[in-house]
């Protein structure tokens, strides 16, 4: 079976500016991938090419084994774009009904209203919706065709906590049903919640590609948290650990460093009164910062 997505040395230029450079990527069906990067890294440009909204300047790409501009391929994919846009002077249910008609095997209207949390707002005119409600309508429209492959470009911007929670629960259900998910986000907790695989790009170039754990392991920095006894003063701690970054919250100390094991041994050897010690490897966000830091120093990821 062909992969859900196959990019082969894809480059996209806007005049002299290179937005995506020789990007090669293969995403198998039924998996979920988070495409991460800073603003302007080339994430949305990559999605635009995958969605057939723009064409690569060089290279080849296929989506579900075909061209993304092919109506048969489009019938099997859904997209939630970064821009929130709905057409005016239609009710919520009328808009969803309209978009359902674009697809050969659409999901029932009631299911779409339920999954997007718009059942109580079905009769509202779209121009009267709040920003978060418009986002949810975009979600319903992206799911209208019961897509095999779902693109989510920063999907939860503007959603309240409850809507976000409901959104991710639905996404988890879709993942369990074997849908392929491609997500871009600046919320690392969202990527950690849903992605099997993480791809990091910067200035249009692939910087890291691996499972969530593999990317997390790129992280060099660990965080050690402990409660300091009365004899542990900031001055004494500084003298023991040198330049490691510390933050005090009452007697609770958070210490960030690459070599937390050595620092812990130093503190114990010195007889420092510390308790409730926790060491964490850090999450995706710290891993990304490690990647950016390597970039600044000119190291390869």
């Amino acid at each position: 079976m062909s992969p859900a997505i196959d990019l082969n040395k894809v480059t996209k230029r806007f005049g002299k500016k290179v937005a995506v450079q020789e990007l090669s990527l293969r995403v198998e069906r039924g998996t979920s991938m988070a495409l991460l990067g800073r603003n302007g890294a080339g994430k949305t440009t990559t999605l635009s090419m995958l969605l057939g909204v723009s064409s690569p300047t060089e290279g080849r790409l296929s989506v579900l084994g075909g061209k993304p501009t092919d109506a048969k391929v489009r019938d099997r994919l859904g997209a939630m774009m970064q821009e929130v846009s709905v057409i005016e002077r239609l009710r919520v249910e009328e808009t969803i009904e309209l978009v359902r008609k674009y697809y050969d095997k659409p999901l029932p209207l009631r299911t779409l209203l339920d999954w997007s949390g718009l059942t109580p707002h079905a009769k509202l005119m779209t121009q009267g919706l709040s920003g978060g409600q418009k986002r949810r309508l975009s979600f319903a429209l992206a799911l209208a065709g019961d897509p095999e492959l779902l693109f989510l470009d920063e999907p939860t911007v503007g959603m309240d906590i409850e809507s976000r929670q409901r959104f991710w629960e639905t996404i988890e259900q879709l993942k369990a049903r074997g849908k392929t998910l491609i997500l871009t986000t600046h919320h690392m907790d969202e990527a950690e919640r849903i992605a099997d695989r993480v791809v990091v790009i910067d200035e249009g170039i692939l910087k890291a590609d691996g499972t969530l754990d593999e990317i997390r392991r790129l992280n060099r920095v660990r965080t050690m948290t402990f409660t300091a006894g009365p004899d542990v003063t900031p001055e004494r701690l500084r003298a023991l650990i040198g330049g490691a970054e510390t933050a005090w919250d009452g007697r609770r100390v958070r210490l960030t460093a690459a070599d937390t094991d050595r620092l812990l041994r130093t503190l114990i050897r010195d007889g420092a009164d510390i308790s409730d010690i926790e060491i964490s490897a850090g999450g995706l966000e710290q891993a990304l910062q490690t990647i950016w830091s390597r970039e600044r120093k000119g190291e390869t990821a």
Binding site: A71, M81, E94
Partner: protein
């Protein structure tokens, strides 16, 4: 093909519904032409003859043309501009809906609206102002007006290629008023100075109404009238396609 027809029907129905819910369309496409018709016919008098036909029939054609121009420009232009700039048109390109179905559904819905405007205006003329004309005059005039709307739909599409929906909304209304005023829809060209008559004859708004005035007067339509309308339509369509292709190259 079935899928295409299914999408096209759904899209056309939605466009029709959206236009019917547009207060601006009602004001500029229906209320204003009907009001102006009653005011100007009452002020000039029912029995005055202009261009070989009764004033009340002449002005009925003028105001029907005015309503169709207003509907074409004020519905199509701002809506296309808004859908493009706010990302809806871009999102639609990720769905199976073909671009042609998207555009043709808007044009079909607009044509259906224009049939409604013609029926309403002609009903006002027949039932309220008691205009008596052979049935085929009414039918031919209606068909002419449906043909003559093409350059205005093309102009609305061209306006829709501009990126500021608010500006397009204002520009559409200004263009409707200017084309109507200078094209002799508010004041007959017989009452205009010679230089202004030359301007009117060069405008699509005059040519649009001229065809129907001639049908109502039992005269043949000069060959240059449809030629000028089609020429304007071609220029507007080419400009719209050129502007959209430039924007597409930047996407």
């Amino acid at each position: 093909m079935n899928a295409y027809i299914r999408m096209w029907k759904a899209q056309s129905g939605a466009e029709l519904l959206r236009t019917m819910r547009n207060r601006r369309f009602f004001m500029l496409g229906i209320v204003m032409p009907v009001m102006l018709y009653f005011v100007f016919v009452a002020s000039v008098g029912d029995n005055v003859q202009i261009g070989g036909i009764d004033w009340k029939a002449y002005y009925l054609i003028s105001m029907t043309a005015f309503g169709i121009i207003g509907s074409s420009l004020n519905s199509l232009g701002p809506r296309l501009s808004q859908e493009r700039t706010q990302g809806w048109a871009k999102w639609l390109r990720t769905t199976p809906l073909p671009n042609s179905a998207y555009l043709f559904s808007k044009i079909l819905a607009q044509a259906a609206i224009h049939v409604g405007i013609i029926v309403l205006m002609f009903a006002v003329g027949i039932l309220v102002k008691h205009i008596h004309m052979p049935a085929h005059f009414w039918l031919e005039s209606a068909l002419w007006l449906l043909f003559g709307m093409i350059p205005f739909l093309a102009l609305g599409t061209l306006l829709g290629t501009f990126d500021a929906p608010e500006v397009v909304t204002v520009l559409s209304t200004v263009l409707q008023m200017m084309l109507s005023l200078l094209g002799g829809l508010w004041t007959p060209t017989e009452q205009m100075p010679a230089w202004l008559v030359n301007v009117a004859h060069a405008l699509p708004s005059y040519r649009f109404a001229e065809g129907a005035w001639n049908i109502m007067a039992g005269r043949a339509i000069p060959w240059e009238t449809p030629a000028i309308l089609l020429g304007y339509a071609a220029v507007f369509i080419l400009l719209a396609v050129w502007r959209l292709s430039r924007k597409g190259a930047r996407a």
